[in-house]
Structure formats: structure tokens, C-alpha cells
Amino acid sequence: MHLSDFQLFVLITIIKIAVVLVITLTAVAYTVLLERKVIGRIQNRWGPSRVGPFGLLQPLADGIKLFLKEDLMPMSVERPLFVAAPVIALACALVSVAVVPFGATFKIQGVDIFQVSNVNIGLLVILGITSIGVYGIALSGWSSNNKYSLMGSLRASSQVISYELALGLSLVGVVLRAGSLNLRDIVNSQIGHGFLSWNFFGGLQFVGFFIYIMAAYAETNRAPFDLPEAESELVAGYHTEYSSMKFAMFFMAEYANMLTVSCVATLLFFGGASSPFEGWLPAFGPAWLQAVLPIFWFVAKVFAFLFLYIWVRATLPRFRYDQLMSFGWKFLLPLAMANILATSLIMALRS
């Protein structure tokens, strides 16, 4: 059977989407396991170890448990929005993986197989989808008709709006250096001299990186910024009334957002899928190895960031609400602006 170019493109794209989706969902499930294991070790206990070798089948058991639980629907909820909220949260969390280039450019039949779609405003797409994701949290709290949920979602939406500014501004330095919003171009602007040409080291963007990481932790509602679900004050925050798969969707959305943040940090500050010895060591091995090795580096970097997430959660106590707000507005935002000024000044002086 002979396929036209268009049909081939559609076919390869659908396969890409399916594979990336499955890998992302598996990664989400195993990030949960990783978190439980690592936090267990940090707190001097074992973590899950009963299901399968080293507890590796724990995510499967969790999934079965959540599927089989009774799906409670409280009496006085706003039904349509109550159902829509977790769907919005999860969909927004999963979609942003679509623009992430997770390998070197490698074309089969003219279609780049290591990136679902190469968009010329990729960075803006990720920022936009993340900013839509807050509706899931805001609506879940409001539609639950529960004061703790409402408090949680009010906190979440104000926190996300406040930290979005610092987050966006912290990325401007990187965009200035790359001169493009295309994620592939941004990665390509960081190769040449191994890890010294990564934006974090060679680009002197470490201030931007730390602002990004802190703002992104706040955006994903993770410790130490997890006030929207502070269990000591708000029961479970915005997902108090959710059970079964609806709860699981929020849970998955949180971890998928962590993955996205780790991917973006890798792409923008740590050279994406390029190896730390790029340009120093000669390319070796057969062609398939050269295609697969960048993916290995990418996964390793993303894993490091996920580990950092978990480490921070296990180490730092939660912020107080006024501390959170003044930290975002009075410290991160001015620092991000200063970073933009310094970066553009250095670039202007160099040119």
C-alpha cells in the first residue's frame, strides 16, 4: 500500500502522540513512586516495598485502588463544573508535553520523531497552557461548595497569578540569548562547548534559573508553596470533596505539571537533550545510538529535577501566606527584572 505524504504525516503524528502520552502517564505514575521512596529514605524508613520487586508495581496497585473506589458526588455541588474541573486540570497538564523536544533532530520520512510538534512559539504555548490550568483548581474549589475547598482555590488562583509574572520574566533572559521562542532553537543556542555553553553556566542565567525554579514550585502548588492544599489548615484544600478517579486526576495533574516544569528547566537552562560533553568528545557508535543517547541525557536531567522537587518537599517547611505573597512580589519579581536588565546590558556590551 502506498501512502501519500499527507497521510504518512498524519499516521506518524498519531503514533507519536500515542507513544508520548503513554510514556508521560507512566512517568507520572512512577514519579509518585519515586517521591514515596525518596521521602521514605529521607525520613529514615523504607517507603513502599511490598508490591513487586522493590515495590515497583506500587503505581499499578494505586491505580487499581483508585479506579475501584466509590465515586462520591456530594449533594450540593455544582455538578457540571465539579466534573469538568479535574478534566481541565489534567488535560492542561498533559498537553504541554506536546511541544517539548526530547531528543536531537532525527527525521523519518521528513517528520521529526522526537518532538510531537515543533511550534515557533513553543515557549509561549507552554506558558499559556499552564496559565489555563489554574481554572481546574479554581473551579474545583468553587463548585465543591465547601469553605475549605473555596479557601484552597482562592489561595491557588492568587498564588498562580502572582508567581506567573516572576516566572515569565525569569525566562526572558534565555529568550534574549537565543533570539527565538522556538524550543528547538533555544536548545540549539546552547550547544558547542559542552556544559559550559548551557544557559545556566555559560549564559550566566543562574539567577534566572533560581527564580524560575522557585516560581514554578509555586505554580505547581508544591512544597514549600503548597498552601492551597495545606492539610493542617484546609483539610485537603481544593480537592477535599473529590474521591476516586476525580481525585486521581488532580493527583496526576500535579505530577504531570512537575514533569513539564522539569522539562522546561532542562530545555531552557541545561541544554535540553544535548550531552554535557557535546563538542568535546567525538561522536561515536552507530546511528541508532546517536539518536538514542540525547534522549538518555534528557531523561537524566529531567530525573535530576524531579529528584530536586522531592528533596525540597522533604526538606523545607511550608510558607505562611503573607510570606508567600511578599516573597513573590517583593523579592522574585524585582530580581527577575534586574536579571533581564543585566542580561540585555551584557549582550549589548558584547555585540
Binding site: 499527507f6 515557533n120 512559539i121 496559565s131 489554574v134 482562592l154 497569578i161 515569565g168
Partner: protein
């Protein structure tokens, strides 16, 4: 052949997202609860973003999503949740408004669409511009226009925003 696919894709995009925008705007009009109206507007804005993109304005499509639906409408939803606004009640004023308002809106629509459709052949065709591939991007053109010819308006707008922030803080502050 390729042109035909392009045309069909463009028309399908226009019909799907234009239809979605109209339906959501109707929903905005018919819903009684402010939060439902706000969410319908979010849907309108997102489908308009797709149409902006199909007209080759990808930067504005992204700005529409980030600024409008990601910040402004979140602010609206936030205020609706904060004030716990319930369903609105029908009053006398709304009856007068609907008697006078609906014919007026219909008249404006008829006038506008008559003009647009009768002059339609002069306006020409749109083609799926600035497709979101790696090659083209009009962001650099927009920014060079914005930071050279239109620098003064840009700076004035930033001062306007500063004033608006201060005004909002002063207005919303609790009186002691």
C-alpha cells in the same frame, strides 16, 4: 491538491472555532450565574485565539491565551468566587432593557453584516497564514515595530498599567 486540503482545513478551522465562539457567546447571554458567563467568555477567547492564529497572528494568539484567558479572566473568576456572587435576579430594568436591547443588537448585527457581505468581494480571501512551523515568525517584526516607531505609545501604556495597579490597590484596600 495541496491547495484543496489547505482550503478545507482552513474552512473547517473557521467553522469549528467560529461556531464554538458563537455558541459560547450565546451561552454567556443566556446563563444566569456570573461564573458560567465568565467561563463562556474564556471559551470565546480561546476559540478566537485559534482564529487569530489562522490569520497569521500567532504572537497575539499566545498573548490572548496568556493575558486574556490566563490572567484577566482568572481575575474575574477570582472576584466572583471572592464576593460569592449568586444568580442574578430579574428586575424591572432588565425588562425594559430586553425590550429595547434585543432589537437594537439585532439591528446593529444586520447593519454590520450587510456592509461586510455586500463589500465582501473587495475584502478578498484569507489564506492560512503564518502556519505554526519552525520557519516563520512575525514576533521579531512586531517587536521591531513596537520598539522603534511606536516606542512612545508603548511607554505610555506601561505608565497606564502602573497607574491602574496603584488605583486598584487603593480602591480595593479596606478602609481603616
Amino acid at each position: 491538491m495541496n491547495e484543496l486540503v489547505d482550503t478545507i482545513m482552513h474552512l473547517a478551522l473557521f467553522l469549528i472555532f467560529g461556531g464554538l465562539a458563537v455558541l459560547a457567546a450565546l451561552n454567556l447571554l443566556l446563563q444566569r450565574h456570573p461564573i458560567n458567563s465568565a467561563l463562556s467568555l474564556v471559551v470565546v477567547m480561546m476559540s478566537l485565539a485559534v482564529l487569530y492564529w489562522s490569520l497569521g497572528a500567532e504572537f497575539l494568539a499566545a498573548a490572548q491565551i496568556i493575558v486574556y484567558s490566563g490572567a484577566v479572566m482568572v481575575l474575574f473568576v477570582f472576584v466572583i468566587m471572592l464576593l460569592n456572587a449568586g444568580e442574578e435576579e430579574r428586575t424591572k430594568g432588565s425588562k425594559i432593557a430586553s425590550i429595547a436591547g434585543f432589537p437594537g443588537a439585532v439591528a446593529i448585527f444586520c447593519l454590520l453584516s450587510f456592509v461586510f457581505l455586500s463589500e465582501g468581494h473587495k475584502l478578498g480571501l484569507s489564506h492560512l497564514g503564518g502556519s505554526l512551523d519552525e520557519a516563520t515568525s512575525n514576533i521579531s517584526q512586531i517587536s521591531s515595530l513596537l520598539f522603534t516607531d511606536l516606542l512612545l505609545p508603548f511607554e505610555v501604556t506601561s505608565i497606564l498599567i502602573l497607574v491602574a495597579i496603584l488605583g486598584a490597590v487603593v480602591l480595593a484596600k479596606k478602609e481603616r
